[in-house]
């Protein structure tokens, strides 16, 4: 194991104010189970899970309440004991509505009446949800199955199902396992705290993943502004065997982007979509996800809780909270001592890629890395005006696009021109809008173009399928 400095700097990128000092030195605090949980069936990009419970049902912590619905999908488990109050559409962290299970965690089933079977009653709590596995003797298939059963998905952002990622399609081999510890989003410190406090779990997770992936080389990518995390990883991995390197990355947003991390660590470039990292022999996993894999295998503990950074200048006491999945934002804020001042904006995630939400009555998901409450002083609000062609967006774009061109094309409703300008390559990192002196909502324009292109492709596919059926 050695520590190296990344030699490969991607072009573009920006330097937002990181504001990490608010929560950086706050130890992870475990939050008690709140009285109500809102567990969304849509935990990630891809198909939402199919709900398996109905109002009135009693569920146990760890019980499967939503089953996989398609290939790019993960199952959902109840993160606490309780009674299903309702199954209804709720606003999710990304602002869209999806089915959610509302769980009353205070309710317990009445003792079964004399003579009745106790089938619906809850077994006493405690004990592992899944039988612990010995990773050394378990087969690759057993380990993969465990990752899937544990409902693990990428905890960095998009939430790609981890079992899918760890099982490359035939003909593709993982040569490098890249651990994403960059956490380049402003304010967020959840991954940082996990690296400091759960380093041995990360190491175990890496060993399990190496076994599943057939022994790839390992690159642990951390930005240079987190020396303590680098030291913690160095200590945890000091005696590991095989090709393992800690790669210190330059501080540059969006260094945490999968494609840029692959470039920074092993100098490979993922081709344009639909290519995936595995096409260049890489699998990138967030450090939190790796720790979750260790828990799922060694302890039999599915992914039921995660660390979320609650921060921003409107929060009384910013914290890194280990909370059960589905904890409402209002409960997280209350656990942080409430609001210091009225927030003007509430953001699921970080300030660069997070979603502004309209209410605190939203449950966390497996991908909720942060919750930010920003006062009026921290919220910028300007009217956008005409592009002056200054080229800042072009120089900031880490994907080498011409965002000015794309945003003008979208303004003119010319989606074709945006597509020709490779808008589908856009990773929506926000670097273009961040630096735009005309306050143009360039990232939003890219998103709009991508959505309409996706909708068109889906419509074309449906049409082709219908035509094929006619024949």
């Amino acid at each position: 194991m050695k520590t190296v400095k990344s030699q490969f700097k991607f072009s573009g990128g920006v330097h937002p104010d990181y504001n990490k000092e608010l929560a950086r030195d706050r130890q992870i605090e475990k939050m008690p189970v709140p009285p109500e949980l809102v567990i969304s069936m849509s935990q990630h990009l891809g198909a939402p899970a199919k709900c398996l419970v109905k109002p009135g049902d009693f569920v146990r912590r760890g019980q499967v309440i939503g089953e996989k619905n398609g290939f790019i999908s993960v199952l959902v488990r109840a993160s606490a004991d309780g009674k299903v109050k309702a199954v209804e559409k709720r606003i999710g962290p990304a602002g869209g509505k999806a089915d959610a299970v509302i769980l009353d965690t205070t309710a317990r089933p009445e003792a079964p009446a004399e003579g009745e079977s106790g089938a619906s009653a809850l077994a006493p709590a405690g004990g592992p949800v899944l039988p612990p596995l010995d990773w050394k003797s378990a087969t690759r298939e057993e380990l993969l199955k465990r990752v899937e059963e544990a409902g693990i998905c990428g905890m960095g952002g998009a939430g790609f199902p981890t079992a899918v990622k760890l099982n490359p399609p035939p003909g593709k081999r993982c040569e490098y396992l890249v651990l994403n510890g960059a956490e380049c989003e402003p304010y967020l410190t959840a991954d940082y705290r996990v690296m400091l406090e759960r380093a041995p779990r990360i190491r175990l997770g890496v060993e399990i993943m190496r076994k599943i992936l057939g022994g790839p080389a390992v690159r642990i990518a951390i930005e240079a502004n987190k020396p303590e995390a680098i030291a913690a990883m160095e200590a945890a991995f000091a005696d590991i065997e095989g090709n393992v390197e800690i790669v210190v990355l330059p501080v540059l947003y969006p260094q945490g982007s999968e494609k840029h991390q692959i470039y920074a660590t092993v100098k490979r470039i993922v081709p344009e979509p639909p290519a995936l990292p595995i096409d260049v022999g890489c699998v990138v996993e967030n450090v939190g996800t790796v720790a979750a894999i260790a828990d799922a295998v060694e302890l039999g503990e599915p992914l039921l809780e995660r660390v979320t950074t609650v921060s921003g200048d409107a929060v009384a006491e910013p914290k890194n909270i280990l909370a059960p999945s589905g904890t409402k934002y209002s409960d997280l804020v209350a656990f942080c001592g409430g609001e210091k001042m009225p927030p003007a904006k509430v953001i699921s995630g970080g300030t660069m890629m997070g979603f502004a939400v309209s209410t605190l009555e939203i449950g966390t998901t497996k991908t909720t890395s942060g919750l930010l409450l920003l006062s009026k002083d921290r919220v910028f609000q300007y009217s956008s005006h005409a592009c002056i062609n200054c080229g800042r967006c072009l120089r900031a774009c880490p994907m080498g696009l011409n965002p000015a061109l794309i945003s003008k094309a979208v303004d003119a409703n010319d989606v074709k021109a945006a597509e020709d300008a490779h808008v589908m390559d856009c990773i929506e990192c926000g670097a273009c809008s961040f630096g735009c002196p005309a306050y143009r909502t360039i990232t939003q324009s890219c998103r709009r173009a991508k959505n309409s292109i996706r909708a068109r492709i889906a419509a074309e596919k449906a049409k082709a399928a219908a035509a094929a059926q006619k024949k």
Partner: protein
């Protein structure tokens, strides 16, 4: 568009939720600040007429901008300072002694015709100040080519003279055509190196002082308002061309005339120059080449503004040629 507020009064908007705090008005202010040394030098050498020309151009441009937006029923844009900058740039590209009513006509043309007719900031195909200068050069050829001597008030008998470029053209192209070298006597009529650098020579108000322009240019580069591509390509082309073509010394071609102000302040105008680094290099090269072709073969002694305007017109084409390659496309 303004993000809307919801029932709970949380502001909803698309990411990102952070901004670098840059603004169009700050950029324009930076360019205006960068022009102040050259402005001061112009006033130092040409006195009150320079002050009046600058004042008239700036105020007329701002007034025209305000009136045009009002007439079009659109939001006022004078706050972005682009009209102030256009006025200042136009004034710095005029001879100090120009009748003020002509400066007014030029300013109205710059904002009214060259900018607002196309939709205002960001939409104009040509640099407004240069378009107005070209318009004035054709409309008012005499006054636009009558040059006050630096410190003209000290020589009341002969207040005006030819520009060094005109003198050079006469000397090298007409009188020394057959390969003869100019006599030392004839050379003494041209400004020396220190006068060229400091700007003690006849010319437009803002173009004369290379040192003052270089200070401003350094500020713009430091503030990352401009990149090096256009100025370096422009000036290097002029320099290499004049080395190869012979005639007047190359440093004179760079320092006497509009190359310095053109390369750093006019050709780098965002709206009318290419957006990619490669495009900027092509643009700067084209400016330098056309400028020298006009100086050598054209009937005008100076071709800087026409060169930039011609390159403005092919900027969309250069942009099309030089679209950036996506990050992932490199490996295809």
């Amino acid at each position: 568009m303004k993000p809307k507020e919801t029932a709970e009064h949380y502001i909803l908007s698309s990411s990102p939720h952070a901004h670098a705090n840059s603004s169009v008005s700050r950029i324009m202010l930076d360019v205006i600040l960068a022009l102040l040394p050259a402005t001061a030098a112009g006033i130092w050498f040409f006195g009150l007429p320079a002050v009046w020309t600058i004042a008239v151009c700036v105020s007329t441009c701002v007034a025209t901008e305000a009136l045009c937006r009002l007439a079009m029923g659109r939001d006022s844009t004078i706050g972005d300072l682009s009209a102030v900058l256009t006025g200042l740039l136009l004034a710095l590209n005029l001879p100090a002694g120009i009748p003020l009513w002509m400066a007014v006509v030029g300013s109205v043309f710059a904002i009214g015709v060259a900018k607002q007719v196309f939709g205002g900031i960001g939409m104009n195909p040509f640099n407004p100040a240069l378009a107005a200068r070209a318009f004035m050069l054709i409309s008012f050829t005499g006054p636009m080519t009558t040059w006050l001597k630096p410190f003209w008030w000290k020589t009341p008998a002969a207040m005006t003279t030819a520009t060094p470029l005109a003198a050079m053209k006469k000397l090298y192209v007409a009188e020394c055509a057959a390969g003869a070298t100019p006599t030392p006597d004839a050379l003494s009529s041209l400004p020396g190196v220190s006068d060229l650098l400091l700007g003690c020579m006849p010319g437009c108000i803002g173009e004369v002082s290379a040192v003052a322009l270089a200070i401003g240019a350094a500020y713009l580069l430091w503030r990352k308002v401009i990149t090096w591509h256009i100025p370096v390509a422009f000036i290097a082309t002029v320099y290499v061309y004049s080395l190869v073509a012979g005639g007047a010394p190359a440093y004179m071609q760079v320092l006497a005339g509009g190359v310095m102000i053109g390369a750093f302040f006019m050709a780098t105008d965002y709206v009318t120059s290419p957006i990619t680094a490669k495009g900027k290099l092509i643009f700067g090269f084209g400016c330098g080449l056309l400028c020298m072709l006009i100086r050598q073969f054209g009937s005008y002694p100076e071709g800087c503004s026409f060169a930039i305007l011609i390159m403005n017109s092919i900027t969309p084409l250069i942009n099309r040629w030089t679209q950036p390659k996506p990050f992932g496309a490199a490996v295809r």
